[in-house]
Amino acid sequence: MFAFIVRRITQSIVVMLIIGFIGFAIKHEIGDPVRDIVGISVSVAERDALREQLGLNDPFLVQYGRFVYNALHGDLGYSFFFKKPTTEVILAKAPATLELVFVSALIIILVSIPTGIFAAIYPRNWFSRLTMGASIVGVSIPVFLTAILLIYLFSVELGWLPSYGRGQTVNIHGWHSGLLTKDGLIHLILPSIALSSIMLPLFIRLIRSEMMEILETEYIKFAWAKGLRRRRIWLLHAFKNTLLPVITVGGVQIGVMIAYTILTETVFQWQGMGFMFLEAVERSDTSLIVAYMVFVGALFVVVNTVVDIIYGLVNPTVRIVGSK
């Protein structure tokens, strides 16, 4: 296990170096950060002086070298817009995104597992057919549309839920959490439903089809023949084996979900990393963009490592490479 984790960390450093390089290579295409920090009537000479001062005129390799050197010292540069170190900005915004992803993942797990199992056991039941029909619709509506529809229904028309922002947060050692206050939780409802709406149909369908397949296998038939109780067959024998592909897909999809937070957060003015990233692209806050990419790259490596470990726990036949 230890060797596995060490290997993963080494790999992640390589991944982040490559991401940093790619980010650096494209940052000139994103736009000129100097434009965004001066008024439009500022003269060309003034802008050039500022660009020189920021070191944006240096050759590509010099800039990249400086970036890597500073990055190894834990400094990912200064955000042009926030006028703070980028790591500080990202760490301040990360809790919002992580909480949103966490609650959405919780919704997906709590809804998709019972629904998927039910639909697999009773495929002809009206509820199963309804969910299957609805999931096709759900999977084809883009997330920002779902988000806006939710806002219009629940905030504007019914007036039940707030339309934007995180509400009241509690500061726990720098982690601003919305999970601990009533106001914060109310603010979480719509964004997390919107975000989970992309993955939920997929997981219901996945669990249903995997489960149906397994219910047809020999060992389940044998279990029936042994006269085991229904519940035991469904939940223990069948469902446990259904989980394997679900965990694999889930690991990949959590990454995708972090990407989708960009849209959800923008619609809800949710002050997380995704919203921050989109804003940074619009303002060509290039140092923040590169830092975000490196950070998300690291996050992906962590998530995948955790998924691999869980996979090994659920399925002992799979040995993690490197563990003896």
Binding site: E29, I30, G31, D32, R35, D36, I37, V38, G39, I40, S41, V42, S43, V44, E46, A49, L50, L54, Y78, F80, F81, F82, K83, K84, I148, I151, Y152, S155, V156, G159, P162, S163, Y164, G165, T266, V267, F268, Q269, Q271, F275, M276, E279, V281, E282, R283, S284
Partner: protein
Amino acid sequence: MRKILSFAFAVIMIFGFSAAAGAQSTVLKVAMDADPVSLDPHVQLSGGMLQYSHMVFDPLVRWNQDMSFAPRLAFKWERVDALTMRFYLRRDVKFHSGNTLTAKDVQWTLERLKKSQDFKGLFEPFESAKIVNDYTIDLVTKKPYALLLNMATYIFPMDSQFYTGTDDNGQPKDAIVKIGPSFALTHESGTGPFIVTEREQGVKTVFERFGDYWDKNCPGNVYQMVLSPIKKDATRVAALLSGDVDFIMPVPPQDYERIKSHIGSQLVAMSGSRIITFQLNQKRRPEFQDPRVRQAIVYAINNRGIVKKIMKGVATTAAQQGPRGFDGFNAECVPRYDVAHAKKLMAEAGYENGFECTMIAPNNRYVNDEKISEAVVSMLAKINIKVNLKTMPKAQYWDEFDAQVADIQMIGWHPDTEDSANYSEFLVMCPNKETGYGQYNSGNYCNARVDELVLASQSETDLKKRSAMLQEVEKILYDDAAFVPLHWQNLSWAGKKGMDIKAIVNVQNFPYFADLVVK
């Protein structure tokens, strides 16, 4: 008896407190598309920063709705000679730090403005500020300068004592720092109606009314103001309609009807001064050197139709640079749209078969910018000009614009000076790297007479004469079809019913929130 008495006392206390609280505790929640980038008013020249300056600082004079000047920190001013204007300062003005405003602060602020990368261009005509006594100051310009008062609206005196010295990092407190920490970035001491009590950049800024504010006649009753940026148009409107915020700006045109028809909210709109134009590059295309071709293009573009169909009436059709109310506004210049005439002009110029050219436009800078440019492409196809359009986000647009990569380029302009000459200085004067004139003239239109008139207008202090000069400029540009005028974007604000929004807004788009009366 004692019980009754204490009960009565309690009731009185409760009613008394709640009545007092009702009168005082009006909290206004405002959502804008962005929040101030810094607490330092000199760090960036932008609409958002000037809106912020009007909340936390106070200018010497400020604009009225009818484009006249209202006294603020200067209660009186008079011209001493051609170069000098004397301002008399109020004696009862306190800064948020408790210091008293004196002429020294004004002088200090002007010197700082001349150091600011963003403002130094605007304050170039100023020679110095001379202190006459503690409460009287002379602003001296290098040449006679017609826009001295316009510029005085940008002088928001800062607390020179508060900003003097060095901070914890050993950096001078008055340093103007674009990137990186600075004292002025996170601390403020102005004379304005509101104090910043809490600020989380990009999330919210909380303003509270300044107890020692000098303007005791200020009618407003907003005690606390919470400003949250909400970037997405639909979310901003939804926040107003659901009651999460009380006031929003700007209002997207597609939601005007929704807000108007919603019980409990109101919409206020006003014609603005940001002109949207296309420039025809004469250096890249010899065809555009022929005024008949340029005129044909203007005649071919139905800008009334664009305002009606694409802008949903939320803009004012333009045929010149400055809108009505500006000194240079020339009533003779009216929108012209006549495809038959455009075709005739093309034939006269020898281009009845047309030609092919390129166009670039931003897609997230101006209201409906992409749709407008698409409409223009199809309109030009009618006079056989085939246009290849490329649109891009504003982050990439301005570099392309400066490099003049296309034959036709879109640009919108709002004059920082609120004056007609400013449009010409940036958009149509002969491009000159040394003087900086024509910085955004990608059409490369160059007319010696226009340059001469605009330069002369700068030092003409007789406003009637000046107005005539600037009107002549507009006429020349109109006859020459120096650029393609489309429209002026309207400004809009929306809020809950029961607040007098009309009274606090203006064409500069600096709502005076301190004056807002909420019933």
